[in-house]
Amino acid sequence: MTATLPQRTSASRLRPSDVLRVGASGPRARKTRTALSALGVSIGIAAMVGVLGLSESSKSALLDEISALGTNLLTVESGVGIGGGDGKFPEGSLAAVNRIETIETASAVHDVEASLLKSEFIPSGQTRGLTVVAASESLLETLNGEVAEGRWLDNATSEYPAVVLGSVAAERLGITTLTQPIYVYVGEHYVEVIGILEEFPLSADLDRSAIMGQQASEAFFESDPSPTTIFARVESGTLDATRDLIPTTADAENPEEVTVSRPSDALEAQAAADDALTTLFLGLGAVALLVGGIGIANVMVIAVIERRGEIGLRRALGATRAHIRRQFLTEAVILSALGGAVGVALGIGATYLYSGLQGWRVIIPGTAAAGGFLAALLIGAAAGLYPAMRAARLAPTEALRA
């Protein structure tokens, strides 16, 4: 029968490219409404992409910091206060800690009872919160510190009255370059500044200090060489076991006064807190997206009511119910895709802008951009489903009775 009477049985058909064209005709004819209804979705998508981009960028900045610092660094401090501790470890504790097999390097710092001033003419009370400490030469390596200017303490300079300034100390003393010999007034001696350090990732105390060699501190300032803080690098994988060993090793008599902390924990806690915040904002973005989707559904329901005449006409011109359904579904998806594309662009733009201001490396997670767009499409399809079904159910005669 098909062969003899092809004309009679051939069904109505709509090309896929025409499905798109017909679906776009509505939004194209009502540009303001299209823009406004797409806006809701774009705000939601922009929020989600922006939040994901920003959190990834900030997290990567934080992770860079953590990896620079190393997660295997332990800070060992002796308690001061109620327990009767004087805040100092017994002599020889550094050597004892260094004997623990799983410790790669350990360095000690002890306080030097001397004020750090720019010159003898400044009253001794005005130290601006700067302190003087003595450290072993291995400290810089243990802390992964970097020298900004000049050089670090070595065998020779450790014995002489010379200091290396922490970054904050140098700034407060107004010392930026070491092209000429520069001296600071420590205690009652002028001491040469031989180096300026970069900021330590987590030892803010050292940033505010002038650091000198242990031999020099004993020889010129008669300071007590008992360590106040020990920094230890631990072989990876043995951290917890080593951590338990340290108190008794460092201070066999008062192990309960020893506190062992891991500086990178603070950064990881910060990262975790950021994660929680990201989840919250992502949730808010999802709510915005949902509201945008409802907006599209609303606009589509109104469109179906307003365009009954068009629906009836299209049926008269040969559109099947499926063609009408597809037209309105396509229309809803076009609205949301438009919103999604704009939203992804806005989110990426916001990430670039804010990361640029913060000096972070910009990371746009591809999954966030693609996922955001996909989410917009899905929302559009879901929003268009009911209006499209209603449009398709409309009887042509009813639709034409305008």
Binding site: Q7, S12, R28, A316, L317, G318, L400
Partner: protein
């Protein structure tokens, strides 16, 4: 079209068409007349397959439309029937040519061919100079000629016009009726629904509907006369 009954549900059901039989042959130009509420629009909808009868058979070129599914009935409309409505039903967001091209879209004709054939048809109805104008910038008469072009662009065997001149002034009415007569001369089968007796009288055959029944049919009268 034989023994058509169309009821709309309700208590009691509204019987819009009561045992109506009409046969329209190829090449005929028929006026369907009757007061409003007489069932003439229902008759057109059923003839045009926009509505299915409650009982009875609508056959187009010997095909019983009751045996066709939605896609096939839509296919019949897309290929073999052209509609002209009183309210034009033109889409304002599109140019005249794209409005006319909508008459071909559900046959799966490509966009380039659609536009070419639409331009040709618009020239045929005397609107060759208005191809890219949107309908909102046109007069009523011009709009109805665009709508006629849309009904003709796929070269249907059968054109159904529901009060095509109902919203037009007398000059535009003349232009549209001239088009319809021209089509008839070319061999197209046309049914025009109208309550305008002058227009009806100008057509070769009049079917008069009243209260859901055929009151008179000039073809039958002449056969019996």
């Amino acid at each position: 079209m034989r023994n058509i009954v169309k009821e709309y549900p309700g208590f009691p059901p509204v019987r819009a068409l009561d045992d109506v039989s009409v046969r329209i042959d190829h090449g005929e130009l028929v006026a369907v007349v009757g007061p409003s509420g007489s069932g003439k629009s229902t008759l057109l909808n059923v003839m045009g397959t926009l509505d299915r009868p409650t009982r009875g058979v609508v056959a187009i070129d010997g095909d019983d439309t009751a045996t066709l599914n939605d896609r096939q009935v839509a296919g019949v409309r897309a290929r073999r029937i052209g509609f002209v409505f009183q309210q034009f039903f033109l889409l304002d967001g599109m140019s005249a040519i794209d409005n006319v091209a909508n008459g071909l879209i559900y046959q799966g004709v490509g966009i380039k061919e659609r536009r070419e054939r639409s331009a040709e048809t618009l020239r045929r109805v005397g609107l060759g100079h208005r191809l890219t104008h949107p309908p909102s910038h046109m007069s009523g008469g011009e709009r109805q000629r665009v709508a006629v072009a849309r009904a003709l662009v796929h070269e249907p065997a059968f054109v159904l016009a529901d009060e095509p001149t109902g919203n037009l002034d007398s000059r535009s009415t003349g232009a549209v009726m001239d088009l319809i007569h021209g089509l008839h001369d070319e061999g197209t089968t046309i049914a025009v629904i109208t309550h305008d007796t002058t227009i009806a009288a100008s057509l070769p055959r009049q079917v008069s509907v009243f209260d859901g029944r055929i009151e008179s049919d000039s073809a039958m009268q002449s056969a019996f006369a």
